[in-house]
Structure formats: structure tokens, C-alpha cells
Amino acid sequence: MSGHEEQSGTTGGYEPKIMAFVCNWCTYAGADLAGTSRMEYRPNVRIIKLPCTGRIDPLFIIKAFENGADGVLVSGCHPGDCHYTTGNYHARRRWIGFKHLMEFTGIDMRRLHFSWVSASEAIKWVDLINNVTDEIKKLGPFMEYRGLKDAPPQAAE
């Protein structure tokens, strides 16, 4: 048994696993609104709700990739709209650092997405999920990361 069964799409074939870390007040509510508006979007994303994007530690993202995520999405309130006034500003700073670090390490940035989605932007949420899913689907499974643990250490190979 493994988490997040593969092929969760209707068409069969490869379906990416995408993890989303979202804030409770804006993006989570925006995603709820997409639901109350009965919109349709790709089913590949699994959301973890946090109070604020400021709570998101880069470790979450690393761990998601370690656990087989093909892509990670981080989303919260637009600047200025933070429920906690400045949490998303802190998050943005951290992301600027982390994003460059990941980029320099050679993580394909098409697998790591940052976004602002407000509680009223259900359409933006839907478009975002669809675009991110399609993009990652094209890239295929993140084998580089998934394969890391079982690769033998260099000296012993």
C-alpha cells in the first residue's frame, strides 16, 4: 500500500502527485469557494491546511518531495491581505531564499509553484491547479528525487 494511489485521473495513464500547502484564510477558503461554485478541476492535488503561509517551513516542501510528490504548490493570501497582517510577507522572504536555493540545486522550478489565491479567487485556484497539474504531468514523475534513497553511496557502488 502506498499513499495517494497512482492514476487518479479518469483517463488512466500517469497522473502526478501534487502536494499543496495553503493558508487557512485565503487559499483554503478560495478552494472551498471553487467547490461551492461547483467548478471542476484536476484531482491530483492534496491540500495541507496551515494557519498562514508564514507557518510553512521549507522542510515541508523537502519532505513532500521525499515522500514522492511530483510537484509542490504553496499558496496563501495576497500581500496586504494576510489574516495575520504580515505572515505572508515573511513567507515571501523565505521563499525568495528557498526558491533560489532549490533552483541552484537543480530542482526543476516547474515542480515548485508559489501563488497568491484569495478567498474569492475560486477561478484562479481552478486555473492554477489545472495548469500546475498539466505542466507536471508533461514532466513526468519526479524520478530524480524519488530515486535518491535507493541509490547506493558513491564509494560503495
Binding site: M1, S2, G3, N67, P153, A155, A156, E157
Partner: protein
């Protein structure tokens, strides 16, 4: 007298021969500007110009990380399955006499009450080809711990460099003899002019007997000299990771909510968390206590318990130390 010779030009053939019989050939090779023991595929990779490899070859019998069991969760049951180690015949070429001595120390630890097959099965299929040293550096101190470039303990085959860059071959153990037999085509008979061995000077003022007796006295345990000797130690543990006789490990579980594996990972007594109790109490709460432990491990605990050598004088810890903490300086101090 004719001697058995391994020509440098035949090492490639030996590697192939080991390879075709399913074995692994470990030899010093240049990786990231350092000579390290590495499983290699061709003679081109072998480095011949080195004093000691940066790492000890212990990682081929005692890997830095290995899975010892797998488990899966179903319902309220945990299905735990132990792993069997499948040891591959491995030959280590280019070990030094000092470090070859370390295997008996490791074996003693891994077999004294519980026989750790993850170790023994690997060691049982290991052939150690030692090469007598023709170079040494200021960190080498094998002679100070009563070893020398001629020491043969722990080696299955003892090699000496010749003036022409070849090796004379002396099979010491049954396993060594069988190895030479098995790959007979790679060896030949002939005359050889040996390169002289280089013996590091015995460090004056170090007396192993005195160290032993001093460590045996309880009051010396609390001697402030420990604190002074090790004040600069930053507790990085690099010394323990390169040491051929250090053997401490930790068992850890890694995995997800669905499945996991149990791993055996190297650990180091130099870490603060090594002895940290769940209560928050730490019996080795200062770095000098951790360093003292390692020293006593080398010079009292293991020699007394197993009559094995705790320190083989390879000097790796001295070379790797970022703050240049030299164990021989402590040995000297404790010989007083």
C-alpha cells in the same frame, strides 16, 4: 629466491578476474581531490601515490547506512521483515598494515555476545591486500602504538612495492592463499628489488603502559587535564568516521505512514546527543567527557575487554580534524 610478483600492469587483469567471478574490487582512487577506498572497475581508477586513503575500508564491512529490516503497516498489525545480508566477495587492495589490524577489533565488537551477521558475513568474504608503506607523513604514528609497516596482522595478503612499481606477494591466511590461487593467472614468479619501507619515528615521551595504568586509576578520570587537552574540540565526530576501529552505530526507522525501513547508521560518541537520555540528563554533558570516552575506548576499554588494538596509529583523526586536535599530544600528556 623467486618470489610471487603482482605486476602493476597486471592489476587491470586482476580487477577483471575478480569482477568476472562476481567479486568487488576496492582500491584507493581519487575522488574530489582525495584518495579514498572505492569499489572500482578498472585499473585506471587506482591511485598508487598515497599515504593512506582518507576513509577506512571499514565501510565495506560495516556500511555507513544499511537497511536491516523492512516493515509495512496494515490495520493494527505491523509486518516486520528482517533483511538477510548478501555479502559479495570483496577484495581490498592497498590497505596499510596499520589499518589492517583494525578488523580484529571490529570483529571482536560485532561478535562478543550477539553475532552481527551484517558484519561477519561481509568480513568472512573479505580479502585484505595490504601494501607496506614506502611513505609516511607527520600524522603517522603506527610505531608509537607498537605496529609498523611490516605488521601483518589482519592482512590476508601482504604486498611490498618494488623499485619497478610492482609488488611482491605474500599470502598469509587461507583466504589469502585461496585468492592467489583463484586468480593465479594474474600473478607471476620472479626476482624483485624492494623499495625500502618507511617507518615513522616513535614519538618520544609516549608510553602505552603508562597510559594504561594511568587510565586505570579512578582519580585520573576527573583530572582537569582532560578539559585542557580537548577544549578546542568542536565535537564534529569526523575523527570517529574516518577511524578504522570506531564502530558505534544507531538504529533508526525511516518511512511513511504506510511502510518503513529500519536502518543501521554510523554514529559518533563525539555527539552531544549520543548519550542524551530521554529525561534530558546527559552523563557526558561536556565535550571533554565525550573525547575522554573515545580515548579510553581506544586505550582501555577495548584492549582490556577484547585484547584488541583500539588505536592503530594511522593518524587519520589527526589529518581530518578541523581544529588539529592531535591524539598523540594527549597520549604524550597522559604518559606523564
Amino acid at each position: 629466491m623467486k618470489e610471487k610478483i603482482l605486476r602493476r600492469s597486471d592489476i587491470g587483469r586482476l580487477i577483471d578476474s575478480v569482477g568476472t567471478k562476481g567479486g568487488a574490487f576496492v582500491a584507493p582512487a581519487l575522488v574530489a581531490r582525495q584518495v579514498v577506498f572505492k569499489a572500482i572497475k578498472s585499473a585506471d581508477e587506482v591511485s598508487f601515490d598515497y599515504i593512506l586513503a582518507r576513509n577506512s575500508y571499514k565501510e565495506f564491512v560495516f556500511p555507513q547506512t544499511e537497511v536491516v529490516a523492512d516493515f509495512t503497516f496494515t490495520g493494527n498489525k505491523v509486518d516486520l521483515r528482517g533483511r538477510e545480508v548478501e555479502a559479495r566477495d570483496t577484495v581490498v587492495f592497498g590497505a596499510r598494515p596499520c589499518e589492517a589490524t583494525s578488523l580484529s577489533a571490529l570483529r571482536a565488537v560485532f561478535t562478543w555476545d550477539f553475532v552481527d551477521e551484517f558484519y561477519t558475513k561481509r568480513e568472512d568474504t573479505l580479502v585484505v591486500m595490504t601494501v607496506g608503506c614506502t611513505k609516511a607523513d607527520e600524522a603517522c604514528f603506527c610505531t608509537t602504538v607498537e605496529l609498523s609497516p611490516e605488521s601483518k596482522s589482519g592482512s590476508d595478503i601482504y604486498l611490498r612495492e618494488t623499485e619497478t612499481g610492482d609488488y611482491t606477494v605474500e599470502a598469509l591466511t587461507d583466504r589469502g592463499k585461496a585468492f592467489v590461487e583463484l586468480h593465479a593467472g594474474c600473478f607471476e614468479e620472479g626476482d624483485a628489488k624492494l623499495k625500502p619501507l618507511v617507518r615513522p619515528e616513535v614519538i618520544k615521551g609516549i608510553d602505552l603502559g603508562k597510559i594504561q595504568s594511568r587510565l586505570a586509576q579512578r582519580e585520573n578520570y576527573a583530572d582537569p587535564v582532560w578539559g585542557e587537552l580537548t577544549r578546542k574540540c568542536i565535537g564534529c565526530g569526523a575523527c570517529t568516521y574516518v577511524c578504522p576501529t570506531c564502530h558505534c552505530f544507531d538504529i533508526t526507522d525511516e518511512g511513511t505512514a504506510f511502510e518503513a525501513e529500519r536502518r543501521k547508521n554510523w554514529d559518533s560518541c563525539q555527539y552531544e546527543s549520543f548519550t542524551l537520555h530521554a529525561s534530558g540528563h546527559n552523563p557526558r554533558d561536556f565535550q571533554f567527557k565525550r573525547w575522554r570516552n573515545r580515548f579510553m575506548c581506544k586505550f582501555t576499554y577495548y584492549p582490556n575487554k577484547f585484547s584488541s588494538k583500539g588505536c592503530v596509529g594511522c593518524g587519520r583523526c589527526v589529518r581530518v580534524c578541523p581544529v588539529r586536535l592531535d591524539i598523540t599530544e594527549a597520549m604524550e600528556e597522559l604518559s606523564k
